[in-house]
Symmetry: C2
């Protein structure tokens, strides 16, 4: 196992560089491993997780005691919930390993091979990115999810979890390494940063010679800080200010079901709708009934003047509401003239995450698909579907709101890249 005693503060940069060097070496080995070798490692890790469940639960108990004991730094109930492991959750993590083993291996895939006029045969081969740094909150299951996705895509991973989960993470990493050990793959394929010092994050994001990309998973503040300070590329996920637009040509029954689901199914996920836009022509047919359902669920509505004329209990929305990701039981509502104003609103106030139109009108759906500048654009579907598993990616490392490299839900493919291959027969350039 790579993770020995945590160093003192002044040595953290040196410690992180040692992890980086080891990861660079391990990345070459895992990058050249066969699909069978990688899948066998994933199976062995799954079994080792189950075999070491008692250790992991005991370590988690330690984290939970510390988390609930410290009066200066009380964790919210939601955070404690995320920190908590159970035998069922460990089984789910092991199942996750086996599911990732069953995903197709993208490495080595050759595409777009075409002959050039001179007979050179040119195309692209999919290869691993190399070394991936993952920075995440106190959710011990992410330790395993992130590690196995990186491994399957042929990468080495350096994991930095939240400090409240340090004992759980160390126990999970130990189980992972003991599963990996007999397979012959180096343990440095997955390294857990075993210091809780914040300086470790700063070092991780500033060693481009050892780290090819950093994936921060957490609050907006963390991601903005990392983006600002990183000298390595960052796969970013910022806001999810998602919209549903109910078009003048919507089927109102569908519209009510989808708009209710997009908000009420879960508030706290990035694909939850935060602003509902309704075409003037159907506002009266849709808003009063939909509002009754939202109110019955305890959802607060903040609307424009036209909405409030139809639904008296609505509070007044401010300009700020159009830009807010509530992640809570609050919804902004605006009546718009029609398609153009809806698209303009979404592109102006939204966060380019996930937006959906409800319409039976083909031309309107085509225009919405083309003009809405978001990572996922939907027709007649709930924004809550914005998720790598729902998209058939088999797994998800996160959702990118950036346009470059990967946009939208990121699965295995986002952890790879393509190089050109050029096959000749002694070709020289004239």
């Amino acid at each position: 196992m790579q993770n020995t005693a945590a160093p003192s503060q002044p040595d953290i940069t040196a410690y992180m560089r040692r992890l980086g060097q080891a990861a660079r070496v391990a990345a070459v080995q895992i990058g050249n491993a066969t699909t069978a070798e990688k899948n066998a490692a994933l199976e062995a890790i799954a079994q080792s997780l189950l075999d070491n469940a008692a250790n992991i639960l005991a370590a988690n108990e330690k984290d939970l005691r510390a988390a609930t004991r410290d009066p200066r730094n009380p964790l919210s109930a939601a955070m404690v919930e995320r920190l908590t492991l159970t035998p069922e959750r460990i089984t789910a993590m092991a199942d996750g390993c086996r599911q990732v083993a069953q995903l197709p291996d993208l490495i080595g895939e050759i595409t777009d091979m075409t002959y050039q006029p001179n007979g050179l045969h040119i195309g692209k081969m999919r290869v691993p990115l190399g070394v991936i740094g993952i920075i995440y909150e106190s959710r011990p299951n992410v330790t395993m999810d992130a590690a196995i996705l990186c491994l399957k895509a042929g990468n080495a991973a350096i994991l930095r979890g939240g400090s409240e989960a340090i004992h759980s993470n160390l126990a999970i990493a130990a189980a992972l390494h003991s599963g990996l050990q007999p397979t012959g793959l180096p343990s440095a394929v997955v390294q857990l940063v075993d210091t809780t010092e914040r300086a470790a994050v700063g070092a991780l994001i500033q060693m481009p010679e050892y780290v090819d990309i950093v994936v921060p998973r957490g609050g907006k503040g963390l991601i903005e800080r990392i983006s600002r300070e990183a000298s390595v590329p960052v796969l970013r996920h910022l806001d999810g200010v998602c919209h549903v637009y109910i078009d003048a040509d919507a089927d109102c029954a569908k519209a009510i079901e989808v708009a209710y689901n997009a908000k009420a199914r879960r508030y706290g996920i990035c694909g939850a709708m935060e602003t509902l836009l309704v075409a003037e022509a159907v506002a009266e047919a849709v808003l009063p009934e939909l509002s009754r359902r939202y109110f019955a669920r305890g959802i607060e509505l903040r609307g424009c003047d036209k909405s409030r004329n139809l639904v008296a209990r609505m509070k007044a929305a401010t300009e700020e509401d159009w830009r807010t990701e509530y992640l809570d039981a609050i919804l902004a509502v605006r009546v718009v003239h029609g398609l153009q104003q809806a698209i303009d609103h979404i592109n102006e106030y939204g966060s380019h995450h996930t937006d959906s139109i409800i319409t039976e009108n083909l031309a309107h759906s085509r225009e919405f698909l083309r003009r809405v500048d978001s990572s996922s654009v939907m027709v007649n579907a709930s924004t809550q579907f914005a998720d790598g598993f729902e998209y058939g990616l088999g797994a998800e490392i996160g959702i990118s709101t950036d346009k470059l490299h990967a946009r939208g839900p990121v699965g295995l493919q986002g952890l790879t890249c393509q190089k050109y291959i050029v096959l000749g027969d002694g070709h020289i350039r004239p």
Copy 2:
């Protein structure tokens, strides 16, 4: 035309932000333009270039006089050559416009549509990146090349050329805008930064709200500085320390032709070979003859001890030589045991740009293709082919040595991205 009088230094940030705002608005318009509209604009620009050739040549004459007059800052002959426009070069620029018009339009391309088990139909649509900043040296033809590629890919461009070419660039931009004017596309689709102040570059790379990606074209120093200071993503091209490896199973006649071409055809391009690796088993059959040809061309050779035993006139190579991009009539030469050492050398000392193996051995070619971690990996072909036109991309905005987003020669596709589209029928998530 967007480009009015250059502002005083304190106003440069405000000036650049005005360009950014105008580009953001124009990007929506060009992003929604049809293929026919974009191609008509490219044809009109080509014609306007020819119609305004006299103005452009007069402006270029002004730049050339200034460049050759200033004794404090003399330009090299190569720089003057690149700065010089002729009637033939203007015709070539116009031809380039027409060729880009004939390239397929990638925007709107829908791929990977598959049904999920619940009936949602999910895939990807190719869309423009938005606003692209291009920073380049004093090569006026780049003004046109960069502008038309951005336009064809549905993007707005902000161009910042080298100060020595400012009059030429202004004249080219004026011709471009006068061609664009009757087409109805906004002139802010292409904006030339008309101040030569360096602060303009700093502002351009630090306004992510207006600029989606910056492409610096120029020396390594410029690109490193921009990468360090940019808060917008940068498409980077750093070193081209390219290798040819002559395998033990090479056809020696092919090997000599390809290795000679890879160095001697042109020294100054990034795909030029900088280090030649030769398997011990064929060193004696290949190196003496190849060296005679290099020497006859005036190329200096710097070799390892084994190479120098075969070719007495070779100087001794130092560790530094293995890492150097000479871009000149100098070549480093190393005899290696065989394939493994060659691959290790390339991955350790190379710059992950373009590397080629010369072999008739299928297993060796497969291993080289898989394990060499470079943006282009070649078999039996000269590294000088590393070029977007040679790869059939139809055009090239640059060569990326980064792994993310675009790797290797970057054509139109690298100026676009993909968003997910999700088509349902009133789907709600359980």
